[in-house]
């Protein structure tokens, strides 16, 4: 968070620049707002959670905090990665004071993208993709989809969990 503030304070010209951590899933590039990323982990020990929905990859220990890992490939309906488990990357994000980690194929650079160049996601995409992405940005070589982390996690709450949440917010 601190970095973003500095940009705001010192470089007025880039007022609308947002930083994204880029990740790749099955060849498609996605962006996660830097402000939401807590950590990026490499090889971790995952604990399986029996009977959980398939999108849940397991639990991991991040410096004494338990973080639930979400398999992004599974969530997006992509085929499982042929990489070994220890070669996958884990992007830790915070959502309503709980930590989650998104399991991705690889993590790339941090990109600064102007807010003005963000376009809405084409409505022809798969329903889940529409739900959990916010925007699309045209890079020279490829397209980058901006993930909506809050929707992504909300989408995995059970109907009951959603109801509880609704009741709590009312």
């Amino acid at each position: 968070m601190a970095e973003v503030h500095t940009i705001h304070e010192h470089t007025d010209a880039y007022d609308d620049l947002i930083e994204f951590v880029t990740v790749v899933l099955d060849g498609q590039m996605f962006g996660v707002p830097v402000t939401q990323v807590q950590d990026i982990l490499g090889a971790v020990q995952l604990t399986k959670i029996p009977t959980a929905i398939k999108e849940i990859a397991g639990n991991l220990n991040l410096r004494g905090r338990i973080v639930t890992a979400i398999s992004m490939r599974s969530h997006l309906g992509l085929p499982p990665s042929d990489k070994k488990a220890e070669d996958l990357m884990y992007v830790v994000v915070e959502h309503e004071s709980d930590l989650y980690s998104l399991v991705v194929d690889s993590v790339g650079d941090v990109l600064k993208i102007s807010e003005k160049t963000l376009e809405p996601v084409p409505q022809t995409l798969d329903q889940t993709w529409l739900t959990i992405t916010k925007n699309v940005h045209q890079l020279e070589e490829e397209l980058i989809l901006i993930l909506d982390v809050d929707m992504l996690i909300n989408n995995l709450l059970s109907p009951q969990g959603k109801k509880e949440k609704k009741a709590a917010s009312q």
Binding site: T47, I53, N61, T68, Y100, Q127, I153, G161
Partner: protein, 954 residues
């Protein structure tokens, strides 16, 4: 809200709590000037602060209360029950207003002139109750006739409020009070002193109905000099607690590393660290500890009010109120405890008249005590009242259908008494108020169990009852047993585990009843739950080498039992399991696990919100070695075992006898069916095996897409199909039978009018009338029942992508098979229970006697047993061993060498077919084309033996 007001509220709440105790004490020791002074000062402070903060309503009530207290202090008025009641009433008003204030930041509207007037007239009359509207004054009214009049009208009113359980007590009590109402007027003269004298004296005993012990007990904490203390925000303490817990875990981790490392230079430093961390943990724990007396502070008042209301004389004796426990636990047991004490006073203690009749002193005693024992705190609530009426409970148990007469005859008194904690015994209302009215004992028990506690009851008729509550000191750290299931480790709180049993072939033998496993444990049958099945884990080859280094599990297959020889041991390895005996309410059950490790102190952490819907886990934790494990919730496990999907998985290949039955041609098989109603009154059925779940969807959530119904289910769209065309959506909730295909991860639902039952019955399917969507009909429970052909509806829902179903209505049974195939024995090997569930009834309808196996291993096990089949149908894609390998194995050796085998596969490429032919399949059928399958079966059976003859020859 103004900071000043926040502080005021906190302070006032504290002093009000003390006041409650003090005033009750005052009533018993009226001439304690220090006490009066103290109460007066508190009232005065409240009044003064309110004036300062601009809270006129509070100020005026406090002022009135202060007035009475002033008169008491100056001895202008003698202290009596009326005065005390008025003071208590004003304190109650103050409390209400303070509560409102804390929630809304301002005083509620309204005025208290009634109370103020009564106080004014009380003072004017110098201690004689002025207004007749004072309710407390009425109860304690000095006029004897009034009390006499009140009794009959008062008793039934309270009776109505009581829940079922309470009524058991109360009915006897009502009889008693009726008796005592009728009789005293005429007969009182004989046993008791002359009535007029006794009745005139009545106000006297009320006044001096002293509770010396209670008074002492209450005075103790308040009389002590205030300790040096500091207000700390609870959040800060929580934070501190979490950090300390983490530190403990880190220390454990370092200790573990050190144990493997021979480097001694760290040892002394580490020992110090170890020591300090332990102390830190203890100190931090202490900051969360509060004396249990805090939860008891309201009780003397409640008992006093209750005594007055019911005309009983009750002593509340409290012991060990300085016993400390975690504040979180304290909050959670407050309400159950209040309810239980109230219950003891209300229903346990008899009226003075009855007590004298029973030869007891007229004053009853409720004894509340608390003490530490091990890592737990024990709270006992004992009364010397009439005890539980065993016969009445038995009667109730039969009425409610909780237990049968025969069961009751064998049950011990203790077991019968404990029935009062059963949900069936009370109306099971939710907690309504702090007073605990309307809380059933089942709610009490479930609240206590929620925090990992237990509650027990011992009662002797005529002598009294004792409730014993055992709860952990703190919720944050619990002692847990680490167990292994499959290749995963889990923690299970030790308080849940009563004992650990190792099953063997002698005493502790695992046996099966219709597929359900049970264990004979000291002549009792203990139902067993297989965790591996419940958690849907599979056996995995042991490759957890790293773990083995740090911890050596006492694995079931490593240790040898000297009594049995090794060969037998190997064979019985599966049944040589570890069983955790778990107590849940009144029942116990066993949980089968693969291995048991050490116990470990664990810090319970809540699971993340996206996992909350899994009821099997109560939390998760990080072990000393840094790995995350899930904490098993015994309640959830037992609940999930009721889940039909578990038993559906369980049904195949359960016991040898069952297999024998399956192959006994004269015997028909039992099949589990789900009965439901859809379109019309007649019952329909679907094989339970195929059913994934039963759901109810809010009709609002059901959408129409492309002319058909869909609903969002598990975050994808699930098509909904109805059995009859004119199906209308249910008004509110639409019951739906959900079908899963785990392999392809697809779901679909059939909308029905009503789910009726699940039955297990022997039946035979009659040919269908050729209707689409019907497998046939059968006589079930004496009624003709249509059995639904799930595949038909799946094809409706599929729109091409569900299964490779080309056409389901197309096949013509008459043509495909004839009488020739009736009783032909067929073995079906498929790892998907869903497909087994679809194929099995279908093949049975075609006349085959079907046996299923969920993997090639199980199938080969049947070969070892010497069972013979006419034909084998096998899936190709299966984990561990593919259908190709199975066929190869069968062809290579053994008694099945010449049995024709038909392959079923969703990958029916030419290469696959060639490979199939090579390993010895007689036919290769795409999954799921039933017409082809039947044709292939027909062809293979006709020409099969010839073919194999040929193969052999070549």
């Amino acid at each position: 809200m103004d900071d000043l007001i926040v502080d005021f509220i906190a302070e006032t709440e504290d002093s009000l709590q003390e006041l409650d105790q003090d005033i009750v004490t005052l009533e018993q020791t009226p001439d304690d000037p220090d006490l009066i002074g103290k109460i007066f000062r508190v009232m005065h402070t409240i009044k003064g602060t309110c004036g300062f903060l601009g809270l006129p309503r509070l100020e005026s009530i406090a002022h009135s209360g202060e007035n009475i207290l002033g008169k008491f202090r100056d001895k202008e008025i003698d202290i009596n029950a009326d005065g005390i009641s008025l003071i208590l009433e004003s304190i109650d008003n103050i409390k209400d207003i303070v509560l409102y204030l804390s929630e809304n930041g301002e005083e509620p509207a309204g005025d208290d002139s009634d109370l103020k007037n009564r106080i004014a007239s009380y003072i004017e009359n110098k201690g004689q109750s002025g207004g007749s509207s004072a309710p407390a004054a009425e109860a304690a009214s000095p006029e004897s006739e009034k009390t006499e009049e009140k009794q009959p009208s008062d008793q039934p009113a309270t009776q109505e409020e009581l829940d079922e359980l309470d009524r058991i007590f109360h009915e006897t009590e009502a009889d008693d009070s009726a008796e005592s109402n009728d009789t005293p007027a005429q007969d009182n003269a004989a046993p008791t002193p002359p009535p007029p004298a006794a009745q005139e004296k009545k106000p006297e005993p009320t006044k001096t109905e002293a509770k010396p012990e209670a008074a002492k007990a209450a005075a103790k904490p308040t009389g002590a000099k205030p300790a040096q203390s500091l207000r700390v925000n609870v959040d800060v303490l929580e934070e501190l607690m979490t950090i300390a817990s983490e530190l403990v875990l880190t220390r454990n981790q370092i200790l573990q590393i050190m144990r493997q490392d021979e480097n001694k230079s760290f040892e002394t430093a580490l020992q110090r660290l170890n020591h300090n961390v332990s102390e830190l943990q203890e100190s931090v724990m202490k900051t969360r500890m509060q004396p249990i007396g805090n939860a008891w502070s309201k009780l003397p008042r409640i008992i006093r009010d209750l005594g007055q209301e019911l005309d009983k004389k009750i002593d509340l004796v409290m012991e060990g109120e300085e016993t400390e426990l975690d504040r979180q636990v304290l909050e959670l047991i407050k309400d159950p405890l209040t309810h239980m004490v109230r219950n003891s006073a209300d229903h346990g203690i008899e009226t003075p008249a009855d007590r004298i009749k029973a030869g007891k002193s007229e004053k009853g005693t409720v004894n509340l005590s608390a003490f530490h024992e091990g890592g737990h705190i024990i709270i006992q609530i004992a009364d010397d009242g009439k005890g539980l009426n065993t016969e009445r409970i038995k009667q109730k148990a039969i009425e409610k259908g909780v237990m049968t007469k025969e069961e009751l005859a064998e049950a011990t008194d203790k077991q019968i008494h404990n029935l009062i904690f059963d949900a069936g015994f009370s109306t099971a209302e939710k907690v309504t108020s702090v007073s605990g009215r309307g809380v059933g004992m089942d709610v009490v028990r479930s609240n206590i169990e929620k925090i990992g506690g237990t509650v027990d009851l011992v009662s002797e008729e005529g002598k009294g009852s004792t409730f014993t509550i055992k709860i952990p000191l703190t919720l944050a750290i619990v002692s847990a047993l680490i167990v292994k299931v499959g290749s995963e480790r889990f923690a299970i709180p030790q308080i849940n585990v009563m004992e650990l049993v190792r099953s063997d072939q002698q005493e502790n033998k695992i046996e099966t009843i219709n597929g359900s496993r049970v264990l004979r444990l000291r002549d009792h049958l203990l139902p067993l739950l297989d965790l591996k099945k419940i958690l849907q884990l599979h056996d995995e080859p042991e490759i957890v080498q790293e773990n083995e280094q740090t911890e050596t599990p006492v694995s079931a297959d490593e240790t040898t039992n000297s009594d049995t020889d090794e060969e037998l041991e190997k064979k019985l390895k599966e049944e040589n399991a570890f069983i955790l005996v778990v107590q849940l309410g009144n029942s116990a059950f066993g949980v089968i696990v693969d291995a048991v490790f050490d116990t470990e102190e664990i810090v319970v952490k809540p699971v993340s919100p996206i996992l909350r819907n899994i009821e099997m886990f109560s939390g998760n934790t990080i072990l000393g070695d840094g790995s995350v494990v899930m904490i098993l919730d015994v309640n959830g496990i037992s609940k999930s075992s009721g889940d039909i999907s578990v038993f559906a998985e369980d049904m195949r290949l359960a016991t040898e006898e069952e297999e024998q039955d399956q192959h006994d041609e004269n015997k028909k098989q039992k099949e589990a069916l789900l009965l439901f109603r859809a379109g019309g009154e007649e019952t329909k059925a679907v094989p339970l095996q195929t059913v994934g779940r039963l759901e109810e969807f809010d009709t609002k959530d059901i959408e129409t897409a492309d002319g058909s119904y869909v609903v969002q289910y598990r975050d994808r769209l699930m098509p909904l199909i109805s059995v009859d065309e004119n199906h209308k959506l249910a008004e509110k909730f639409q019951p739906v039978i959900v079908f899963f295909d785990n392999v392809k991860n697809k779901t679909m639902g059939i909308m029905v009018d009503k789910i009726i039952d699940v039955i297990e019955e022997t039946f035979s399917i009659e040919q269908s009338k050729g209707e689409n969507g019907l497998l046939g009909s059968a006589i079930i429970q004496g009624k003709a029942t249509d059995i639904i052909d799930v595949t038909h509806y799946i094809s409706q829902a599929s729109q091409g992508d569900w299964f490779d179903i080309k056409t389901t209505a197309a096949y013509d049974r008459e043509k495909s098979f004839g009488q020739d195939y009736i009783k032909r024995k067929l073995l079906l090997v498929d790892d998907s229970s869903f497909f087994r569930g679809i194929l099995e009834p279908f093949l049975k309808t075609a006349g085959f006697v079907v046996t299923t196996a969920e993997d090639p291993d199980k199938a080969l096990a049947l070969r070892e047993k010497g069972l013979m089949f006419d034909i084998i149908v096998s899936d190709i894609e299966m984990p561990i061993m593919s259908g190709f390998d199975l066929a190869e194995n069968i062809r290579k050796e053994g008694i099945w060498q010449n049995i024709p085998i038909v392959a079923l596969s969703s990958h029916a490429t030419q290469e696959d077919k060639d490979e199939g032919k090579r390993v010895g399949f007689n036919a290769y059928i795409p999954k799921f084309d039933r017409e082809k399958l039947l044709n292939a079966l027909k062809e293979t059976l006709d020409g099969g033996s010839a073919q194999t003859e040929q193969r052999k020859a070549s």
